[in-house]
Symmetry: C2
Subunit: 461 residues, 2 copies
C-alpha cells in the first residue's frame, strides 16, 4: 500500500469533518438505552441506523443478527487472504441518562460547544464506533482497505453483554481474525494517545463463616463460643501482610515480572500521587511494597474484599453473637495467572487459617483470565507508528486495571489478542451527566485508525 | 423472730396453695402486653389489680405512681428502724404472644397441666411477683414482717424499663433500703435453687473506618488504596489473641480474680460442655484459655463484635473497594471494671492499631458497670439458709452473663446491692410460646422468700 493511499484517506477524512459530526449526531440522537425496556425500539433503530451506514460505507453485507436480546450488527468487506484480518468491536447501546436535571443539554440532542460534542454515547461508545466506520469508509473511497476488516457491534454492552459470548461461540468461523481492535476506552490523559496492551482478569469467591445455629445473646453466651465475625476478621486479616502483599501461598507463582521496558514506559507517564490521593480523598495511598501506583493497579494482581457483613447492622444496639459472617472477595489477575488455580489457592488459604469453633463454606464464582498483547506484536508497532504520524507525539503504553469481558471471549474463543485503541479522555463523563467527546480526538482518532490499517497492511505488501 | 413465726407462715402458704394459684391466674388473665399500644388499658388494669392485691395483703399505702409511660406500683408496710429494709422489684407487664398458633393453650387463659401453670407471664414475671406478694402477706397474717419491705413493680420492663431510672432518681428517698431482691431470673437448673450474686456490665462502641470518598472500581483502583474492609478486619483481628484473650492493654486491669471458693462453687454445678456445644450447634466451644465455660460467661469480661458491615452485601457481585467499613462492638464487664475506662482502652487500642491509608471514627455508647453481691453478705447467707430450709439442698451460687439495668440503678442511684433470687427454670419459655411456671417452684419459691425474711431479720433481734 503506497503512502499516497493514506494521504488520500486522511485528506478525505479532513474534508468531511463537518459531515461526519452531523452524521454521528444523527446516531447519537437515537436514545438507545439498553437498560430500559421502554427504549427497546430505540435500541433496534440504532442498530438499523448503524447497519445502513455500514452499507453506505461500502460494506454491502452488513446485517443484523438477532440474539435473545438486542441484535448484533456485523459487516465485512471482501476478505483477501494475503492481508491480516482485524475484528473491530464496539457497542451502539448507551447508559441511562438520569439524573436528567444535571445535564446542561438534552442528552439526546447532540450539541457542540468549544469543539466538544455533548451527548449520551458521544465517547461511550457511539462516537468511537462511528470513528471506526468512517476510517474504513475513507479507505473504501480510496479503493480498498489495506487490511481485511470485520465489524462486530453489539447492543448490550451497558447491560453486561448478556448474549455476546454465546454469539461469538456460535459465529466463531465468521469472526476468524488475527487481531481485535476496540475503541471503547480512554487514553491515559489529554495529549497522551495510548495503546492499552494489558487488562487484568477477575475471580470471585463468596465465603461464609458459620458459628452457632442462631444469633446468641452476648451476655448469656459471650465468652463461650467463637464469634463468626471475629473469625471472619481473622481470615480476612490473614490474606495480606502489612506491606500490602497477598499472603496466599502460590498467589504470585505465575505472575510475570514487569520488564524493564514496561517499567520505564509506565514511569514516563505523568502521574502525581498527591493529586491521585486527593482525588480519592484518602489520607495516604497504600499498596504492595516495591511497586509504583500505576504498576500496582495495572500490572500486579490484587485481592479485595468487596463486601462483608455479619450480625446486627441496623440503628442502635443488639447485643448478639452473630450466627454467621460473610464476605465477597474478588481477585484481579494479571496475564498468566490461571483463575481456577487462584480460586483454589485462596480457598486453601482460608481453610488453613480458619480459627477453631466455626465452620467455613466457600462459593467460587466464574473466573476470567487477564490478557496482554505483547509490546512487540506487529499491531502494537503499527498503532505506535499511527499515533506518531497523526498526533506527532510518542504513543503511551498503558494497561487497564479492570476487565473487558469481550476481550476474554476474543482470547478464549477466537484465540486472538486485542488492541485497545481508545480516543476518549478519562474525564469525559461516561455513564454520568454531560457525557462528551473532544472533536479533536474524534477527528484524529479516525485518522489514527486509518493509519493503523495502512501500517498493519504494510507488512503484507 | 422465733422460728415459730416462720412455721406459721409456711403453714399458711401451704394451706392457701389452691387459692394462690387461682389468684395468680386472675393476674395472668390480664393481657398486660407493654409492647402493644392496643393493650395500654390492660397494662393499667394489671397495675390496678396488683395495687389492690397489695392492699388486701396488708399494705394499705399501696399506690400507683404515674410515669410518662406505664404506672409504677409501690407499697411498703410500716418501717421499723431496727430492721433491715428490703426493696423488692418485679414487673407486671408481659411480652407479646405471637406466634399465637404455637401456643397449646390461650396464653391469657391460665391452665394447669401436670402441676405446671401455662400462661404468658407465668414465670416472667407475674408469677414471681405474686410469689413475693404472698410471702409478705403470710407474714402480715402471722403478725408482722421480720424485715421492712418496699415493693417496686414496674410495667415497662419488657420494653426496656424506659422510665424507671428517672423514677428511681426522683424517688430516691422513698426507696431507701439496705438490699434489693429480685425474683425475675431462672435458677441454674431444675433441682438447683440458686443465688445469683453477680451480673456483668456492658459498654458499647460503634466504629467506622473511612477510606476513599466513595466506593471505587476495584479494577481501576485495586492495589492503590487501603481497603477499609481489610483495615477493619485487621482492627478486629487485633482485639483478641489466638487463645481468646482480649489483647487491649489495661482491659483486665481491674478484674478481680475468681476466689478459690467461687471457682469451687462454679465447678460444683452440673455442666456438660458437649451438651452445651450441641445446644448451640458449633463444632467446638471456644473462649479465654485457663477458664471453664461457666467462668468465661459469668466471671470474665468479653469483647464481642455484634455486627459489622462494609461495601456490597446484596446478591451477586459488585467489584468495588468500599468507601467505609463499620462494626458494632460491646464488652461485657465484670464488677470493678469501669465502663469509661474500658471504652477508652478499647478506643486507644483501635487508634494504635489502625492500618495506614484510612481514618477511624469511634462513637462510644452508654456504659453500665457490672455488679456483685459479696458471697459473705448477710443477704447471701440468709438466702442460702432459706434455700436449704425449704429445698433441702444446698444453694447454688451462680452469676449471670448478661446485665439487668435496674440492678445498675439500684447500685448507682440507691447505693445498694441486689440479690437475684429467681425460681423459674431456664427452659420455661420466657418470651416464647407456651411460657410456663412449675407450681412446685411457685410454692417453694414463696416459702423460700418467706424464710429469707425470717433469716434476714434474725440478725437484728
Amino acid at each position: 500500500m503506497p503512502d499516497g493511499g493514506l494521504d488520500q484517506v486522511l485528506s478525505y477524512l479532513k474534508t468531511h469533518r463537518d459531515q461526519h459530526v452531523s452524521e454521528v449526531s444523527d446516531f447519537l440522537r437515537i436514545p438507545s438505552v439498553s437498560a430500559l425496556s421502554s427504549h427497546k425500539g430505540d435500541v433496534a433503530r440504532a442498530a438499523e441506523w448503524l447497519k445502513n451506514r455500514l452499507v453506505a460505507a461500502g460494506f454491502q453485507d452488513a446485517r443484523l443478527d438477532s440474539t435473545p436480546g438486542n441484535p448484533v450488527v456485523v459487516a465485512s468487506g471482501p476478505q483477501r487472504p494475503d492481508r491480516p484480518t482485524v475484528l473491530v468491536y464496539g457497542h451502539y447501546d448507551v447508559q441511562p441518562v438520569d439524573p436528567l436535571s444535571s445535564w446542561r443539554h438534552d442528552p439526546f440532542d447532540p450539541t457542540v460547544e468549544d469543539n466538544i460534542l455533548y451527548a449520551r454515547g458521544a465517547s461511550d461508545d457511539k462516537g468511537q464506533v462511528f470513528m471506526q466506520l468512517i476510517a474504513a469508509e475513507a479507505w473504501q473511497k480510496a479503493g480498498s482497505l489495506p487490511v481485511n476488516v470485520k465489524f462486530l457491534f453489539e447492543g448490550e454492552e451497558e447491560i453486561g453483554s448478556v448474549h455476546l459470548s454465546q454469539y461469538i461461540r456460535e459465529h466463531q468461523t465468521d469472526l476468524t481474525a488475527d487481531l481485535a481492535v476496540i475503541s471503547d476506552t480512554p487514553m491515559y490523559a489529554d495529549g497522551y494517545p495510548s495503546i492499552s496492551y494489558g487488562l487484568r482478569g477477575l475471580v470471585s469467591l463468596e465465603i461464609t463463616v458459620h458459628g452457632p445455629f442462631q444469633d446468641l445473646h452476648s451476655g448469656v453466651y459471650g465468652g463461650a463460643v467463637m464469634n463468626p465475625a471475629h473469625a471472619l476478621a481473622r481470615l480476612i486479616a490473614s490474606l495480606h501482610d502489612e506491606d500490602g502483599r497477598v499472603r496466599v501461598a502460590h498467589f504470585y507463582d505465575d505472575v510475570e515480572p514487569l520488564s524493564d521496558e514496561e517499567r520505564a514506559a509506565l514511569a514516563r507517564l505523568p502521574f502525581d500521587p498527591a493529586v491521585y490521593r486527593d482525588d480519592v480523598q484518602v489520607p495516604a495511598l497504600f499498596g504492595e511494597t516495591g511497586y509504583s501506583t500505576l504498576e500496582r493497579i495495572w500490572a500486579r494482581p490484587t485481592l479485595e474484599v468487596n463486601g462483608m457483613w455479619s450480625g446486627f447492622t441496623g440503628e442502635g444496639q443488639k447485643t448478639i453473637i452473630p450466627s454467621t459472617a460473610h464476605a465477597k472477595i474478588t481477585c484481579r489477575l494479571v496475564p498468566h495467572q490461571r483463575p481456577e488455580q487462584i480460586i483454589e489457592a485462596v480457598s486453601e488459604h482460608l481453610r488453613q487459617h480458619l480459627p477453631p469453633g466455626v465452620r467455613l463454606t466457600i462459593s467460587p464464582g466464574e473466573g476470567a483470565p487477564g490478557s496482554i498483547t505483547p509490546l512487540n506484536h506487529p499491531a502494537v508497532k503499527a498503532a505506535e507508528r499511527a499515533i506518531e504520524a497523526i498526533y506527532h507525539t510518542p504513543a503511551s503504553y498503558i494497561r487497564m486495571g479492570g476487565s473487558i469481558p469481550v476481550v476474554v471471549d476474543f482470547q478464549e474463543t477466537l484465540g486472538i489478542p486485542t488492541l485497545l485503541l481508545g480516543f476518549a479522555l478519562p474525564n469525559e463523563n461516561f455513564h454520568a451527566p454531560n457525557e462528551h467527546f473532544h472533536l479533536d480526538n474524534f477527528y484524529r482518532g479516525a485518522e489514527t485508525v486509518a493509519a493503523l490499517w495502512a501500517y498493519l497492511g504494510d507488512r503484507h505488501e
